[in-house]
């Protein structure tokens, strides 16, 4: 799959270093995989079908036809609390930018999936555990406002440890801000899909992740409100392995479908076409 020019620029020098590492080990089955084979297989283990966590730009390139116009990429991280622990917050942010090759925990923009215009937002767990701070909240809000203005569907991929501690209440309030944007977007009859990837928890699962028309999850993704450790400490017993997996949530009726990564683009396209059909009928 040839890499579009915008993606090459966006991914930065670190991504090239990552690509240069020839081998990756599957965290699930231990199989050592040739990195290029892994990428060709959409970062799914060729032996055990484990779905690796994907970087935002890899995910976007897997779905988007051609151009992708980013929204809010210049909204920069602030330090509202002046946070310091072992390091200062700005130092942590700088390190994650270097490591993850993106400048914040979500990449948002407008593009097309198999000919269907869409507002797409992709969270990236490699940046501060995908936590939602003000920039993540702001970009997702901007994306929803832009999608509302254009009257196009919005697809959000979630991957998050929850609200970002280092931004305190400013982070918590992003749940309110994004929800307000989701409500306006949906009230206008627009289609909203969320794709829950490993892991989706806390302030993200308890806001826009569970406010959509259709909730998709990737196989075996860990999804819940409270983290596993917190629950185990509270009840003082070990949880079963299946607890809080995508399959568990499907069985309990919390999500609509579990879709393997190879089927994801086709599934999203079909969903977008159903909604587009409805929109034409209403027009």
């Amino acid at each position: 799959m040839p890499m579009p020019e915008w993606l090459r620029i966006r991914r930065g020098k670190n991504a090239e270093q990552r690509d240069a590492a020839l081998w990756s080990k599957c965290p699930k089955c231990g199989e050592v995989l040739y990195r290029r084979d892994l990428a060709t297989n959409l970062f799914v283990c060729t032996k055990c079908a484990h779905h690796f966590r994907m970087s935002a730009y890899d995910r976007i390139s897997m779905l988007i036809d051609g151009d992708f116009t980013e929204i809010g990429s210049d909204v920069a991280t602030g330090d509202p609390l002046g946070w310091v622990d072992k390091k200062t917050y700005p130092v942590k942010i700088a390190a994650d930018r270097e490591k993850a090759g993106i400048n914040e925990g979500v990449v948002c923009g407008i593009g097309a999936i198999d000919g269907c215009d869409v507002a797409l937002g992709v969270m990236d767990f490699h940046f501060r555990g995908g936590t939602m701070g003000t920039v993540v909240g702001e970009r997702i809000t901007m994306l929803l406002e832009e999608a509302r203005k254009r009257g196009i569907p919005c697809v959000l991929f979630t991957a998050s440890g929850g609200a970002r501690m280092e931004e305190g209440m400013f982070a918590l309030m992003q749940m309110a801000k994004t929800t307000a944007a989701v409500a306006r977007f949906m009230q206008d009859g627009n289609f909203f899909v969320t794709v829950l990837t490993d892991p989706t928890t806390g302030g993200v699962s308890a806001s826009f992740a569970f406010e959509s028309d259709v909730i998709i999850a990737e196989p075996k993704a860990m999804i819940g409100f409270a983290g596993r450790r917190v629950i185990e400490q509270t009840i003082r017993q070990k949880l079963p392995d299946q607890f809080q997996t995508a399959e568990f949530l499907l069985e309990k009726g919390h999500i609509d479908m579990v879709v393997e990564r190879h089927e994801l683009k086709a599934t999203l396209t079909r969903l977008l076409r159903y909604a587009a059909d409805g929109k034409r009928a209403r027009a």
């Binding site: 920069a76 310091v84 003000t134 901007m142 440890g161 209440m169 309110a176 406010e211 999804i223 409270a226």
Partner: protein, 326 residues
């Protein structure tokens, strides 16, 4: 062990000595009023020393004080209250209390998180940690209020949403998300008051409001201090450090523009003069409801959207243009 309760023990000791001396003084020819006055002065000094300026960590314990007024202490002082129960699906969650009420001559929907006032009640009310069933009750009541045009008044007092197995099985995330979704769209004034601890998304589920009040020594944070320490440093014992860094006091949050009003507490905390505090809070709530009731539903919704839209929206010039509301 609550350090505030520990301090109060020392103070009580001095108070008891004053009482003893007074009793003795009444029956004796020797005048001990000078000793009594000295002790009383000591009592005042001690009280100021112990409670005059509380650290954020101390405020957390003040917010969790077992005798601190709870939601029902406020609800019991309104002119009328008719409690409504249940989520219409599965069960009634006693960790949240809600229903129709009259406040300042006006019908409102009151919703409050209710922790227990003793061990037995705490077990019944799950220490104020709300389950999905409780949040679905909140959502239902908020929806009814919005339809009927009744202002929504909430009291926040929780360490956080219930983190148990059954809460996860019953979709805690969805339940909280749907509360947020209901509150951002409610076509009536919403006034929220943090009366004790406001912990994370479990508190915010009752916290999206046009006017947010905090009691002086209540706290409101993205996660409990213990939770934050566990998340960041895998060490819950660093809670005191987390408490300082999180900026969770009423004064901090007012400075940030996240809350609108602080209701002062007497020296030593709300539980020292509960009826004064309850009256003050209800008066502030009443005033806010009255003021907001002058706005049309459309203006309320627009103003609420802008308010949350602004929080943490910094960055570039370009953001300002794209970020404006169509």
């Amino acid at each position: 062990m609550n350090p505030i309760v520990e301090r109060e023990k020392g103070l009580l000791e001095v108070a008891r000595r004053i009482d003893d001396l007074r009793a003795a003084n009444a029956n004796q020819p020797v005048d001990m009023s000078a000793e009594i006055a000295a002790l009383e002065q000591k009592y005042e000094e001690l009280q100021r020393e112990l409670f005059g300026s509380l650290t954020p960590y101390e405020k957390i314990h003040m917010a969790r004080h077992p005798e601190r007024p709870t939601a029902l202490d406020y609800i019991s002082q309104v002119e009328s209250f008719d409690e409504l129960h249940g989520d219409r699906h599965f069960r009634d969650d006693p960790a949240v209390v809600g229903g129709f009420a009259t406040l300042g001559g006006r019908a409102v929907m009151l919703i409050g998180q209710q922790r227990g006032r003793d061990t037995k009640e705490n077990i019944k009310r799950n220490f104020g940690m709300v389950t999905p069933e409780g949040y679905r009750k909140v959502k239902r009541l908020a929806h009814t209020a919005s339809r009927l045009g009744l202002p929504i008044v909430t009291f926040i007092d929780t360490k956080g949403a219930d983190p148990g197995i059954s809460s996860e099985e019953h979709a805690q995330s969805e339940a909280i998300a749907m509360c947020l979704y209901e509150f951002v769209q409610a076509r009536v004034p919403i006034v929220a008051t943090v009366i004790g601890e406001g912990g994370s998304g479990g508190a915010l589920a009752l916290g999206i409001a046009d006017h947010v009040i905090m009691l002086e020594h209540s706290v409101y944070s993205v996660a409990s201090a213990e939770g934050c320490a566990a998340i960041l440093w895998s060490d819950a014992s660093k809670a005191e450090e987390a408490a300082t860094r999180l900026k969770l006091t009423a004064a901090d949050l007012q400075r940030f523009g996240i809350i609108d009003e602080i209701v002062p507490e007497p020296l030593g905390g709300a539980h020292r003069e509960p009826s004064t505090v309850v009256t003050r809070v209800l008066e502030s709530v009443r005033r806010a409801v009255q003021k907001l009731s002058a706005m049309t539903p459309e203006a309320l919704l627009e103003e609420r959207y802008r308010k949350y839209r602004r929080i943490g929206a910094w960055g570039t010039e370009r953001r300002e243009t794209i970020g404006t509301i169509p």
